[in-house]
């Protein structure tokens, strides 16, 4: 069966050009870049060159400001814990209620360690409440961490504005953004519109590089201690032998993403918009999460009232279609996604969310296929649902009021 892969916010296919670029460092050029003998110069040079490429593509950042890590989670942990240990005099952090767990759970952990953390709420469209944000800024605020775009809904936060407001309030507040979903997709100009951003995290496997490689941008002069100790690599800011092959792969993948951006982005957007409008037209009681906010052009998050997402995913999977869900049964916890809960999605829909996330490798024919099978899957589960009137294809009268209830009983 042909696989239709529409889960690119989870991970992406490694681009063939990337594999080609990194292969030599898994075979002939395996030497440790820290070694002194001649052959080790090749991997060392490769890292230098990759660092230059990444720095250039993020808006002409300075190469030493780019730190290679193992993943975005490590970058995020380094950003937060590194900032806390370097600035012990301030004990207040501001973030949002919809961050990826690599920030959200860190925030919850910090609260247990006695650091004050404010999680700024979002509205029904997943957009941050700016007034709440401003009110949260304090004279002892150490750090602000706001993701650039949300992994589940694709909603884009105004990082340019929020970082400006932060810096105009207090120059010494450190501004971090988790740009894992946006690097290669949205323009990031660290000398321009992102000039107030001090720290920026991202990873390779969201942009067609392999898993196991990430990066952290640390603006020159930002007080941030290393997270991994025990070596002089990365100017002593991240110990551990460099993952040469994947560093090369990351730079290559970013280069391709930037090169092809103007060509790929309109195509992906057109496919997403068609998928969205067709599903909305064909399926009653279907919500598009975050529809009134600016969103990543590759992400579609829909919620089907009165059914559970896992049964949808299972049937999609049986058709070879890979997507994901924020439902409780797919999360490993028994709660539905904290992002959808923060948006106060009614609980008749919160368990029935499905996320399609596209890449340049998707085709119009694949979109056709999803449009063809998805309504039938929703229908098959609604026929089983005790809240659904299958005869009239609408919720049962007694379930109607649940369409607007958002608080857990």
């Amino acid at each position: 069966m042909n696989i239709i892969y529409m889960d690119n916010n989870a991970t992406t296919r490694v681009a063939p050009e990337v594999v080609e670029a990194l292969m030599p460092f898994l075979t002939d050029d395996y030497f440790n870049p820290s070694s002194l003998y001649e052959p080790a110069h090749i991997p060392a040079e490769a890292i230098t060159s990759a660092r230059k490429t990444v720095a250039r593509l993020l808006g002409n950042a300075r190469p030493p400001e780019i730190l290679f890590t193992s993943c975005a989670t490590e970058s995020n942990n380094t950003a937060v814990f590194g900032t806390i240990t370097a600035n012990p005099d301030r004990r207040h952090i501001i973030t949002t209620g919809v961050e990826h767990p690599a920030i959200f759970s860190v925030g919850e952990d910090l609260q247990r360690r006695g650091i004050e953390v404010d999680f700024i709420p979002v509205d029904a469209d997943g957009q941050i409440d700016r007034v709440e944000f401003v009110r949260a800024l304090r004279s002892d605020t150490l750090m602000v961490s706001v993701m650039h775009a949300n992994n589940e809904t694709g909603v884009i936060f105004p990082v340019e504005e929020l970082s400006r407001i932060t810096k105009e309030t207090d120059e010494s507040i450190i501004f971090h953004t988790d740009a894992t979903q946006t690097v290669g997709k949205l323009p990031i100009d660290l000398r321009g519109s992102f000039k107030h951003v001090d720290l920026l995290s991202f990873s390779g496997h969201k942009l067609h590089a392999p898993k196991g490689i990430g990066a952290l941008y640390i603006r020159r002069g930002t007080r941030c201690r290393p997270f991994l100790l025990g070596g002089h690599q990365e100017d002593g800011r991240r110990a551990g032998t460099e993952n040469v092959a994947f560093i090369v792969g990351l730079a290559k993948a970013l280069e391709i993403a930037m090169d092809r951006h103007d060509e790929d982005e309109p195509q992906i957007l057109a496919m997403r918009d068609r998928l969205e409008s067709e599903l909305v037209a064909r399926i009653p009681y279907l919500e598009v999460n975050g529809k009134n906010s600016p969103r990543l052009s590759n992400t579609l998050n829909v919620a089907c009232h009165f059914i559970e997402g896992e049964g949808i995913l299972y049937q999609l999977s049986a058709q070879g279609i890979c997507a994901s869900s924020g439902s409780a049964c797919t999360s490993g916890s028994l709660e539905p996604s904290h992002v959808l809960r923060a948006m106060h999605i009614p609980f008749s829909a919160i368990h029935g969310s499905v996320r399609f996330s596209l890449s340049r490798y998707n085709t119009e024919a694949e979109i056709d296929r999803v449009i063809e099978v998805f309504p039938g899957i929703v229908d098959s589960l609604r026929r089983l649902s005790p809240y659904w009137d299958a005869k009239n294809n609408q919720p049962r009268p007694e379930a109607m009021e649940m369409l607007t209830q958002t608080d857990m009983p």
Partner: protein
């Protein structure tokens, strides 16, 4: 987390969603037994109904002839509902006899369930029990007289322990005993209690205390961590010797008398969001809201007016 369902589970699920003959989707009208478990908010819910062949003189000898379900839930919840109906129809049970069916029978019928999905089988057994109690009421059978414990009130009456899933102390205690649960993860897997916010795990009277109550206490080193007092830097002084209240009043006054009339000329307006020390946070309204020049308007007009009228240290930030 990939799917690790048994073949039987996925077969039953796919048969149910494709509406194959022999599956038990539906709801019996005027059913002899009607039972529900779970809720929409909790993420799974089962409505179970059955019909009996009524015995002419002794309702206790009624035979269940047909069982149906409607389920909102994941793959395994739907498969477990199918399994429950199949077990009942294959077994030729009396309603009282059907009470012998446990969640373990459902798990066995499905050739096993992943640990985290055990609660799907428990949901089946609970809905069956509720339906049998409903049948007994309709048929005038006194289950208590037969030595069967009717506890359909315990959900309403006990102390609420797991607020996320609305589960009470007597219910959880009974389930710990019935299902031989020995740890908090086991409780969560079986009946979901403690699976969401987790705040009931180690609080007094929480899940661990209830486990200890049933199974005997054990040594535990888990303690709540103390919340450290935070080191808060003293706030900077507000500008001049004005109190923050007077300062805010003055800012409003200046905005009202000098700024608003100016903005109104272009059909614009301004709102003060917050004032922190000498920083005034504003947002532009009306025609100004979408104006490309709003940032410079703020600096030139608003900030300058406030500086001239109140204090040179004032800084205006557009939100």
């Amino acid at each position: 987390m990939t799917w690790n369902y048994s073949k039987k589970t996925t077969e039953l699920f796919m048969a149910a969603v494709s509406g194959q003959p022999g599956t038990h989707l539906g709801e019996i009208e005027d059913a002899d037994g009607f039972g529900e478990h779970g809720s929409l908010a909790c993420g799974d819910a089962l409505r179970f109904t059955f019909r009996v062949d009524r015995h002419p003189s002794d309702p206790r000898q009624d035979r269940i002839t047909e069982a149906r379900y409607l389920t909102f839930g994941c793959t395994s919840a739907i498969a477990a509902s199918e399994a429950l109906c199949a077990i009942i129809e294959e077994g030729d049970f009396t309603p009282i006899g059907a009470l012998q069916i446990t969640n373990q029978d459902i798990v066995k019928y499905l050739d096993g369930l992943p640990q985290a999905k055990i609660h799907c089988s428990v949901m089946g057994a609970e809905a069956l029990e509720a339906a049998v109690f409903n049948w007994a009421q309709k048929r005038g059978v006194d289950l208590a007289e037969l030595g069967i414990d009717i506890r359909h009130d315990e959900q309403e009456e006990g102390r609420l322990v797991c607020t996320c899933f609305g589960l009470t102390e007597p219910y959880i205690l009974r389930k710990i005993e019935e299902l031989n649960l020995t740890s908090i993860p086991e409780i969560t897997n079986a009946i979901k209690a403690g699976g969401a916010c987790m705040s009931c795990h180690h609080t007094p009277g929480g899940l661990q205390d209830m486990l200890d109550q049933v199974n005997g206490a054990r040594a535990t080193s888990l303690k709540q961590l103390p919340v450290l007092p935070m080191a808060r830097a003293p706030r900077a002084q507000p500008p001049a010797e004005m109190s923050p209240f007077k300062f805010a009043k003055r800012v409003e006054e200046v905005i009202e008398t000098y700024v608003r009339p100016q903005l109104a000329k272009d059909a614009g307006d301004i709102e003060i969001i917050d004032i922190k020390d000498s920083k005034v946070y504003c947002t532009m309204k009306g025609a100004c809201a979408n104006c490309m020049g709003s940032q410079s308007t703020i600096k030139m007009l608003v900030e300058q007016a406030l500086k001239d009228q109140i204090d040179q240290r004032i800084q205006v930030i557009e939100v």
